[in-house]
């Protein structure tokens, strides 16, 4: 077998050199296999659920996918900055709001929403660079807390600036009203809120992938996120990478904000209300890893929306009679977040850092529970000799 493929690839020499770049490497093939297994499991779970509970589950899964695609766009933006600048940008939600309002401003004044979104994409990119220059570059090397505090300050300024200028009323984008497209009875999707959002989400994911994988800038960004010192040492212009990260982060925020505004209404707190969802996606996926953010966003968005039938079921008096069950759906991502923080703080897709801070408390618990090697079973270790 192996020899077969070997002789095949060696004979058309020129073709090979041309297509070599596209041939899947072993790693990519492995990842593809993993991804398809993941997708299969997902489809199986959703299919099983809808078989049991009816088609409504599919409807919620669809809603979950739409939410996920917004969350993923935002989470990629957040995680890129997090990885390169090393701080949690608490203003991210408010940057999304800002993006949504800028395109609202333009579309209210007669521009089409598409142009509004494009303009706000670039405006926010500039805002990002300004933020870095004016504020965050001064906080470099002072640990994680000062930038968090400053970003909260930025968030407060944006949020309340919007409030005092645009008021607290809800706004809606002027999109043509249309009915849901019915796929099968009981399962429909809105052309703008659903399909468009999904398409844009996928587009952004793909463009992020291309940016990170195939451009020099993207490679530099990944290297910097991986190891800042090493990147500096190998001659990467980290300053430029930092600006690029801000640009990507903030412009993604703007688009995520527009999508969010399309899905619901535009309010001054719309971004801040979802910031924890996005943080959950980022941490679940592993901080600094855009691919993790995609996975985390999918997990978080789907589980939030698909928990609704379950929560509604809990509302029945003969179960536990929970009031407003579906209001708790926003708590689901946090529960996932906490679980991940306990067991895999570096994220489900992230690599365990060599320097994961040791957690003696948890080590002790696991040792007590499972009898891992250590001081307690010292005598056994002696009997075995070295290992």
């Amino acid at each position: 077998m192996a020899q077969d493929s070997g002789s095949q690839t060696s004979s058309p020499d020129r073709a090979r050199s041309r297509w070599a770049a596209l041939r899947p490497t072993a790693r990519l093939r492995r990842q593809l296999v993993q991804a398809s297994i993941f997708a299969l499991i997902l489809v199986a779970v959703i299919g099983g659920l809808s078989f049991v509970f009816g088609i409504i589950v599919l409807q919620y899964a669809m809603g979950g996918l739409v939410v996920s695609s917004i969350v993923i766009v935002a989470a990629i933006g957040l995680t890129v900055l997090y990885g390169i600048r090393g701080f949690a940008n608490f203003a991210y939600g408010d940057l999304m709001t800002l993006g949504a309002y800028i395109s609202l401003l333009l579309s209210v004044n007669g521009l089409s929403l598409v142009w509004g979104a494009i303009v706000s994409f670039f405006v926010l990119a500039v805002v990002g660079i300004l933020l870095e220059v004016v504020i965050f570059s001064r906080l470099e090397g002072r640990g994680p807390v000062p930038p968090i505090v400053a970003s909260v300050g930025v968030g407060l300024i944006i949020q309340n600036g919007i409030r005092s200028i645009a008021g607290t009323a809800e706004w809606l984008y002027p999109v043509p009203a249309s009915q849901d497209i019915v796929i099968v009875p009981g399962l429909g999707i809105h052309p703008v809120r659903g399909i468009l959002t999904l398409v844009i989400g996928v587009t952004f994911v793909l463009s992020a992938h291309i940016l990170l994988k195939y451009t020099n800038l993207g490679k530099a960004m990944r290297a910097t996120a991986d190891n800042l010192e090493l990147a500096k040492a190998t001659g990467i212009d980290t300053k430029r990478v930092t600006y690029a990260a801000w640009v990507v982060s903030c412009s993604f925020a703007s688009t995520a904000g527009v999508l969010l505004g399309l899905g619901t209404a535009i309010t001054p707190t719309m971004g801040f209300d979802v910031i924890l969802l996005i943080f959950a996606a980022v941490i679940v996926g592993g901080i600094g890893s855009p691919y993790g953010a995609m996975l985390g966003g999918l997990l978080v968005g789907l589980s939030q929306e698909m928990s609704v039938p379950f929560l509604v079921w809990l509302e029945r008096p003969d179960v536990i009679g929970l009031q407003f069950g579906s209001a708790y759906k926003v708590a689901i991502p946090f529960i996932i977040l906490i679980i991940v923080l306990i067991f895999r703080p570096w994220g489900i897709a992230g690599r365990r850092p060599a320097f994961a801070r040791r957690s003696y408390f948890i080590e002790r618990v696991t040792r007590a529970l499972g009898g891992e090697r250590g001081a307690i079973d010292a005598s056994v270790g002696e009997a075995n000799g070295g290992r």
């Binding site: 505090v149 409030r163 924890l276 703080p345």
Partner: protein, 447 residues
């Protein structure tokens, strides 16, 4: 120990020059209170009404001071950055409310449920309620700390923020326990007055009780934090790994500090419930509370218990003043609009000319006389910062003018948001230029 080490301060102070920052802070608080009083006088309020109002300021400021003390123990001493202060505060307030209120059954009018009722009706004494509130909030702190404390500061911040927002969701929706969006009303006062000036007497008792509690906890914290125990906390803040290598079980210390800080925040919540007489899942427990407390602690100087109390009085003072002025500013602005506009234009022109002159001058600056003064000013960075600040204020002035012109009366609402924006600006400026605060942490001279 604490007495010896803090006893060193007066000795040190004797040789020190006047502590300007403290003087400024106290003067600022006095100015705020005076301005509030003045606003009351202008509005024609009775002296008693004004005093009640000032009493309200003091009692809420005390609550914030307790919150700030709790956060200072967590962050200022131990370096644990808590972004969920509002959550612990909420737990304390609801625990207190549930513990001490009389039973309040659901209300249904004409088949429509108006009030869902809430858990409780135990009518416990106030002190018991406060202790329960501290225990509940402290317990919650332990639970959140177990997974999150071993992680980096930013994870802790995210986890606690998530925790606080879950609690707000719960308070809103878990009607049978919390009374839903209406909350819990009819929380008893410490002493029930039946005279006509009950509000005034209530304010006085609450300020009295509050300041006693604040003083007690200030002394207690000062004793604890300046002890060998507190020294370990500060060591953890500086370098946890090194502290571990010195033989300290840092996780235990972090847990203790976090739990005690959480308990203090619970106490603040309990005070809040009693002060207002009702709790509801409204803006009192919004993330903005957390951010305000950050500002208070940063302004006051993290690691300095007295400082953060001053910070609380100062920052809450601004908030209170903005509410006091809410009704007067729009009127005053509307009346003075033409003058103000003229003033802004003139100031703008002068600023532009001055900046231009300065830029030109600094190119060809003479090295003596005026030039030296100018250079000196420039070297200190005053010019840049001053210009930026002046332009910010200037822009704000124009925003106000336009708002008043096109949406008369809108400024009253805007002031509230402007205050939050101001807090944002303060956070950024302080964290960049003065992270150690106005009243900074003092050096512990051991003898």
């Amino acid at each position: 120990m604490a007495s010896t080490s803090s006893g060193g301060i007066p000795n040190q102070a004797a040789g020190r020059k006047l502590p300007w920052s403290e003087v400024i802070a106290f003067v600022a608080i006095a100015v705020i209170v005076l301005a509030g009083v003045l606003a009351g006088v202008l509005a024609g309020a009775s002296p008693q009404g004004i005093l009640t109002n000032v009493g309200f300021y003091a009692s809420i400021a005390i609550i914030f001071a307790v919150l700030a003390l709790g956060f200072n123990l967590q962050w200022g001493y131990t370096g644990l950055f808590n972004a969920g202060i509002a959550g612990f505060y909420l737990i304390g307030a609801y625990t207190m409310a549930i513990a001490i209120t009389a039973p309040s059954p659901p209300i249904v009018i004409g088949g429509i449920p108006v009030y869902p009722g809430h858990l409780g009706g135990y009518s416990l004494p106030l002190a018991v309620g406060a202790i329960l509130a501290m225990l509940a909030a402290g317990g919650a702190a332990v639970i959140i700390a177990l997974p999150a404390l071993r992680l980096r500061a930013d994870y802790l911040a995210i986890a606690t923020l998530a925790f606080a927002s879950i609690l707000q969701i719960l308070a809103n929706n878990l009607q049978s326990v919390t009374g839903g969006a209406i909350g819990i009303t009819g929380i008893p006062k410490p002493i029930t007055f039946v005279s006509a000036n009950a509000p005034f007497l209530n304010a006085i008792t609450i300020v009295g009780i509050g300041s006693a509690i604040l003083l007690l906890f200030l002394l207690l914290l000062q004793f604890m934090a300046e002890s060998p125990w507190g020294r370990v906390l500060r060591a953890v803040r500086e370098d946890e790994e090194a502290t571990m290598a010195l033989g300290k079980n840092t996780f235990n210390y972090k847990l203790q500090a976090f739990a005690l800080g959480g308990a203090l925040m619970g106490l603040a919540g309990a005070l809040f419930a009693v002060t207002l007489g009702y709790v509801s899942p409204s803006s009192s427990f919004a993330p903005a509370v957390t951010f305000s407390v950050w500002v208070m602690v940063i302004v006051g100087g993290s690691g300095n218990n007295r400082g953060v109390i001053v910070g609380a009085f100062l920052i809450y003072g601004l908030e209170w003043l903005s509410v006091q002025l809410k009704d007067y500013v729009p009127i005053a602005l509307a009346a003075g609009l033409p003058t103000i506009r003229l003033l802004l234009i003139v100031v703008g022109l002068i600023a532009v000319i001055a900046a231009g002159v300065f830029v030109l001058f600094s190119r060809y600056m003479p090295t003596r006389g005026w030039g030296r003064v100018l250079r000196k000013i420039q070297e200190r960075g005053w010019v840049r910062n001053g210009t930026i600040g002046a332009f910010a204020l200037y822009g704000l002035g124009w925003v106000f003018v336009f708002l008043e012109q096109y949406k008369p009366g809108a400024i009253g609402d805007t002031i509230f948001y402007t205050r939050l924006m101001f807090i944002g600006v303060l956070l950024i400026i302080l964290i960049i230029y003065r992270p150690e605060g106005i009243l900074r942490e003092h050096k512990r001279v051991l003898r």
